[in-house]
C-alpha cells in the first residue's frame, strides 16, 4: 500500500518519487524493471557494444574488414592532418547552429501564424510538412538545379532582365554550406511547426482569455507566456534537429557531393566514404569516435542535469 503523504511532499518530489522501505519498493517496481529489460538489452548490446567496437577499431589499422591489431594513435594523427575532416568539422558547426536556430524560429513562426485559425489550415499544414516525407536524394537534386547559376534562380532573374543578379552560392566554396542550410531548413521546419503547434494547441484556453482581458498584445502572449509553457516541446524539437545535424549525409550527397572540391564536406559523409568506398575502417572509426566524443562532451552535462540527477521536475 502506498504510504500516505502530504500533497506538498508529493509535488515536491520528481514524478513517481517515493520515500519508502527498500524491499517493498523493489517488489513494486518489478513491473517497471521487466518492462525496461528490452531498453537495457538494446543499450548495452547495440549502443554501448557498437560504441566500444568503434573506439577499439579506431586504434587499429583496419582497411576493408576489421583487424584486431594495435596501431596506436596513427589514425588520429592522420585524421587531424586531413583537410577534409577539418573542413567537415567547421561545416557541421556552422550548419548546426544555423539549421537548428533557423528551423526553430521559422517553425515557431509558422506554428504561431497557423494557430490564427486561418482557412485551409489542413492544406497549409500538409504543405509545410510534406518536405519531410520526401526522399532527400531527389529533393536534393531539385534544390541543386534551382541553386545552380546556369539552371535556376540566377538564370531566372537574369532572364527577367536583371543582368547583374548573381546567386551562385552553390558553386562557391565559401558559401556552399549556406545552401545546405537553406535546403535543410526547407526540409525540417515543417516538423518543428507540427511539434510546436501541438504544444500551442495544448496551452490552456483560459490563458488566452486572461491575456486578452488584460489587454496584452498577441505577440507578447506568444513570446512571453506561451513559449515558456511549451518548453518541453521546444526541447524535443531541438533534440530531433540536433540528431539530424549530426547525421547529415543524404542532403550533401544529393546537392553538392561534398563539393565544390571538398568545401561542403560533413563528418557523417567523411565516415561513410572512408568506411566503404576507401576501404579504411580505421580512419572512419577514428572520425566517428571524434564525433561521439564531441557529442558526449556537449550533451553529457545537459543530460546529467536534466535526467540523471533526478531532482526537480523533469522537462
Amino acid at each position: 500500500m502506498v504510504t500516505a503523504r502530504s500533497p506538498a511532499a508529493a509535488s515536491a518530489h520528481a514524478l513517481g518519487g517515493r520515500a519508502e522501505a527498500r524491499p517493498a519498493r523493489w517488489r513494486r517496481q518489478l513491473g517497471a524493471k521487466l518492462a525496461l529489460l528490452p531498453l537495457t538489452a538494446v543499450v548495452i548490446v547495440v549502443y554501448l557494444g557498437c560504441m566500444l567496437w568503434t573506439v577499439r577499431l579506431s586504434f587499429s589499422s583496419s582497411k576493408l574488414l576489421p583487424v584486431q591489431d594495435w596501431a596506436g594513435l596513427q589514425q588520429y594523427g592522420r585524421l587531424f592532418a586531413n583537410d577534409r575532416f577539418l573542413v567537415s568539422a567547421i561545416n557541421i558547426g556552422i550548419f548546426g547552429v544555423l539549421f537548428i536556430g533557423g528551423c526553430l524560429v521559422f517553425g515557431f513562426l509558422l506554428a504561431v501564424f497557423i494557430d490564427q485559425r486561418v482557412r485551409a489550415e489542413g492544406v497549409l499544414r500538409t504543405v509545410f510538412l510534406f518536405p519531410h516525407a520526401m526522399s532527400l536524394v531527389v529533393t536534393g537534386l531539385a534544390w541543386q538545379w534551382f541553386l545552380n547559376p546556369t539552371l535556376g534562380l540566377q538564370k531566372l532573374v537574369r532572364d527577367l532582365g536583371f543582368a547583374g543578379f548573381t546567386f551562385d552560392w552553390i558553386v562557391n566554396q565559401q558559401m556552399v554550406i549556406y545552401t545546405l542550410v537553406i535546403a535543410g531548413i526547407w526540409q525540417a521546419s515543417g516538423l518543428v511547426m507540427a511539434i510546436l503547434l501541438a504544444g500551442l494547441r495544448g496551452v490552456d484556453e483560459d490563458l488566452w482569455k486572461a491575456a486578452r482581458v488584460d489587454g496584452i498584445p498577441a505577440w507578447r502572449v506568444y513570446l512571453s507566456i506561451a513559449l515558456p509553457l511549451i518548453g518541453p516541446m521546444v526541447v524535443t524539437a531541438t533534440v530531433l534537429l540536433a540528431v539530424q545535424v549530426v547525421k547529415l549525409y543524404d542532403l550533401v550527397v544529393a546537392m553538392t557531393r561534398g563539393g565544390p572540391g571538398i568545401a561542403s564536406e560533413v563528418p557523417a559523409k567523411f565516415v561513410m566514404d572512408h568506411l566503404f568506398e576507401r576501404n579504411n575502417i580505421g580512419l572512419a572509426t577514428a572520425a566517428a569516435t571524434m564525433m561521439l566524443v564531441t557529442v558526449v562532451a556537449i550533451l553529457a552535462p545537459w543530460i546529467y542535469a536534466r535526467y540523471v540527477r533526478e531532482t526537480g521536475r523533469c522537462p
Partner: protein, 411 residues
C-alpha cells in the same frame, strides 16, 4: 495400400531427381547495373546463362558503393551471393586475403584466359598466382567526345594533343559557347587529370607515379605542365559545373551548348539515345600519345560451402560470361569493349572499334589507377585533385606538395 503409396513416392522422387540437380545451378548475382541500357546488357548474361541450364537470380543495387557494401555485408553475414560485381582493380584484395573468395583457376586454365586478356588485366585478376575474378569488359576512361557540327562550324579539327584541346575550347568560348562541359564530381575531375597525364606526359611518368610511387616524378616538369594545362581547361568550363552529373554534361554537348566532354565510353549511350551517330553528329577521340586508360568491371565469386574453388554453378557462370558471343553481345549494348582481345568487333560501332584497335597495341594498354593503387590512396588523391580544380587560388606548387603529401599519408 501402403506399398502402393511408397512406390508412388519413390517414383515421384526419382522423376524429380534430374530436376533438382538442374535447379542447383541457381546463381544469385549482385551488381549495380540498373538503368535501362545496363539492364538490357545484363539480360544478355542472364539469357546465356539460362541457355546453359542455369537460373539467374538478379540482385541489383544502384550505386557501386551501395552494391559493394551490401555484398560485403552479406559475405560477412554468412549469406553470400553466388557472384558479385567489382570494378577491375584492388577493391576486393582484402576479401581474397581473408579467404572469402573462391578461385577460378580451373575455369581460367580451360578457357586459356591468359592468352586472350591484356597482361594488365590478367595481373589485375590474379592474387598469389591464382585467378579470383573474371573481367567482363574494358571501359575506356579517357575518351574525348565532341560535337562535330560545332567543330565544323568553327573550323576545328579533331584535337590530337591536350594543348589543341585547350585551343579548341578557347575558340568556342570566344564564340560564346562553353568550351568544355565537365561534370563536377571528384571522380570525373580525377579521370580528366589522369587522361591528360597519360596523353600529355606519357605512360612512363604515369607508371612511375602510380605503380612505383615515385614522389620525385610528381615534382617533374612533365607533371607540372599537365597541372597547368589542367587549370587552363578548368577555365573553359561554365559556372554551373560543380556537382553536375556526367549525363548532364553530355546533354550539353549533344544539344550544342558545349563543344567537348572528357568522360568514359559509357557516354555513347546518351548520344545513341538522342539518336545521334558517331562520326556524323559527334566524334570520339583518344587525345595525346595514345595510351588507352582501361577501366572495367569484374565478377568475383564468394566462397560457398567452404569450397576454396568455384563450384559448378559459379564455373558455368564464368564460362558463359567469358564466351566470345556473350562478350560481343554484352559489350555492344553496354558501350564498352570486350575484355578478351580475340573477338571480332567489326559489328560494333565506330568508337568501339577505335577502342578495340587501340587495345591491340600492348604499349597502349594502360590500366587506370584502380589497378595500381589502393582505394584509400585513390580517394586521398581525389581530394587533392578536386581541390586543385575547384579552388581558384591553389597554385601548381601547392598541388604538387599536397599530391605528395597524400601519397605519403595513404601509401
Amino acid at each position: 495400400m501402403r506399398m502402393f503409396r511408397l512406390a508412388c513416392l519413390a517414383t515421384a522422387m526419382l522423376a524429380a531427381a534430374p530436376l533438382t540437380a538442374r535447379a542447383e545451378m541457381r546463381a544469385e548475382v549482385l551488381h549495380w547495373w540498373t538503368s535501362g541500357g545496363e539492364s538490357a546488357a545484363v539480360k544478355v548474361f542472364a539469357d546465356k546463362f539460362t541457355e546453359a541450364g542455369g537460373t539467374w537470380v538478379d540482385s541489383a543495387i544502384a550505386g557501386g558503393q551501395a552494391a559493394r557494401t551490401a555484398g560485403i555485408n552479406r559475405i560477412v553475414g554468412g549469406n553470400p551471393p553466388t557472384a558479385m560485381q567489382f570494378n577491375t582493380g584492388k577493391q576486393f584484395d582484402e576479401l581474397v586475403a581473408n579467404g572469402l573468395l573462391a578461385d577460378l583457376d580451373a575455369v581460367a586454365a580451360e578457357g586459356k584466359w591468359q592468352d586472350v586478356l591484356p597482361p594488365a588485366l590478367t595481373e589485375a585478376i590474379t592474387r598469389d598466382g591464382k585467378v579470383y575474378a573474371i573481367p567482363v569488359n574494358i571501359h575506356g576512361i579517357n575518351w574525348l567526345w565532341y560535337n562535330k557540327k560545332l567543330f565544323d562550324e568553327h573550323g576545328l579539327a579533331e584535337p590530337t594533343s591536350w594543348a589543341e584541346v585547350a585551343a579548341a575550347g578557347e575558340k568556342l568560348k570566344e564564340a560564346g559557347l562553353i568550351g568544355l562541359a565537365q561534370g563536377g564530381q571528384p571522380w570525373q575531375e580525377r579521370s580528366l587529370f589522369n587522361a591528360m597525364l597519360v596523353g600529355d606526359a606519357g605512360t612512363d611518368l604515369y607508371y612511375r607515379i602510380y605503380r612505383d610511387g615515385d614522389q620525385e616524378a610528381v615534382r617533374s616538369d612533365g607533371f607540372r605542365k599537365v597541372a597547368d594545362l589542367f587549370k587552363q581547361l578548368q577555365g573553359l568550363t561554365d559556372a554551373g559545373s560543380p556537382g553536375r552529373n556526367w549525363n548532364d554534361a553530355t546533354a550539353m554537348v549533344l544539344t550544342g551548348k558545349a563543344g567537348m566532354q572528357v568522360i568514359g565510353d559509357w557516354a555513347k549511350g546518351e548520344f545513341t539515345a538522342a539518336g545521334q551517330v558517331a562520326g556524323q553528329d559527334y566524334g570520339c577521340a583518344i587525345v595525346g600519345q595514345g595510351g588507352y586508360l582501361m577501366g572495367g568491371d569484374v565478377f568475383v565469386f564468394p566462397v560457398v560451402d567452404d569450397a576454396a574453388s568455384a563450384n559448378e554453378t559459379q564455373a558455368t557462370l564464368a564460362e558463359v560470361m567469358f564466351a566470345p558471343e556473350t562478350q560481343i553481345a554484352f559489350n555492344t549494348i553496354k558501350g564498352s569493349v570486350p575484355s578478351r582481345l580475340d573477338v571480332d568487333v567489326s559489328g560494333m560501332d565506330a568508337c568501339a572499334q577505335k577502342g578495340a584497335a587501340a587495345l591491340k597495341d600492348p604499349a597502349r594498354q594502360v590500366p587506370t589507377t584502380d589497378f595500381l593503387i589502393s582505394p584509400d590512396l585513390s580517394g586521398a588523391l581525389d581530394d587533392v585533385i578536386t581541390q586543385f580544380w575547384n579552388n581558384q587560388g591553389m597554385t601548381t606548387d601547392q598541388f604538387v606538395e599536397q599530391f605528395i603529401g597524400a601519397m605519403q599519408a595513404a601509401g
